[in-house]
């Protein structure tokens, strides 16, 4: 199934990508999508996206690594927030 990956702030700069259209196996979790991104885009992706402080959101809602993805999801990765 097809999902959209988006990256923000330091993650975008470290991986030199603001995101991509990506294909994962049906019923993939966020964790398995990270594994697939590592296999497809390189070890740096696996390393950066697996860091403990990286936050994830699906369709603008915060989720954890066990969240199950569905076709068309927008999966976002970003560092802890620093606004205000």
């Amino acid at each position: 199934m097809n999902i959209k990956i988006v990256l923000f702030a330091s993650l975008r700069e470290t991986l030199d990508s603001d995101g991509l259209a990506f294909e994962v196996a049906p019923a993939s979790t966020v964790a398995s999508a990270i594994g697939a991104l590592g296999a497809s885009c390189g070890d740096a992706w696996l390393q950066v996206l697996s860091e403990a402080n990286v936050l994830t959101a699906v369709n603008h809602t915060m989720v954890d690594d066990n969240h199950v993805l569905v076709e068309g999801d927008e999966l976002a990765f970003f560092p802890p927030v620093t606004g205000g």
């Binding site: 702030a9 603008h60 970003f78 927030v81 205000g84």
Partner: protein
């Protein structure tokens, strides 16, 4: 409620007047304005770049305002957060709350800015003499937000 994420500057006075004019039941308007400092952690800051996650950021701010409305007597609330490149002395964020009485306006306003700092998808990058650096979450900001947690 009024939520704006924008590159343009804002007029705090006009925002306060707008909040006060929402109803004749308004007895107090409390506001907070955040500014760009020219230094951080003993380093000179030449400029600040603010990034956000369009769509998600606005949704998170709305959730924060809804929670504020549930916890305090809030007649109207405004959050304006700027993004893009900002220079020292420029305004970054406006939070305003209109309430029947000052206690609710003070508390709701502080709650909103504390939650904005720790829950809304904004990221700051500073330009320093040593180059650019992304800011990291301050522990004091996390502690400020934690004080509003309610027992579950």
């Amino acid at each position: 409620m009024r939520i704006c994420v924008q590159t343009e500057d804002f007029d705090s006075g006009a925002e306060i007047i707008r909040l006060a004019g929402q109803s004749n039941g308004v007895g107090a308007v409390n506001s907070f304005v955040g500014f760009v400092r020219d230094n951080n952690e003993d380093t000179h800051v030449g400029s600040l770049f603010l990034e956000h996650y369009p769509g998600m950021t606005e949704k998170q701010i709305e959730a924060i305002l809804v929670e504020a409305e549930q916890r305090w007597a809030v007649l109207s609330a405004t959050v304006i957060h700027r993004v893009g490149e900002l220079k020292p002395g420029e305004q970054i964020v406006f939070v305003g709350v209109a309430s029947p009485h000052r206690g609710d306006a003070f508390d709701a306003c502080e709650f909103i800015i504390d939650y904005l700092k720790t829950r809304a998808t904004f990221w700051k990058k500073e330009s320093t003499p040593d180059g650019f650096r992304w800011l990291e979450t301050r522990q004091t900001d996390v502690e400020s937000a934690d004080k509003w947690k309610q027992p579950t």
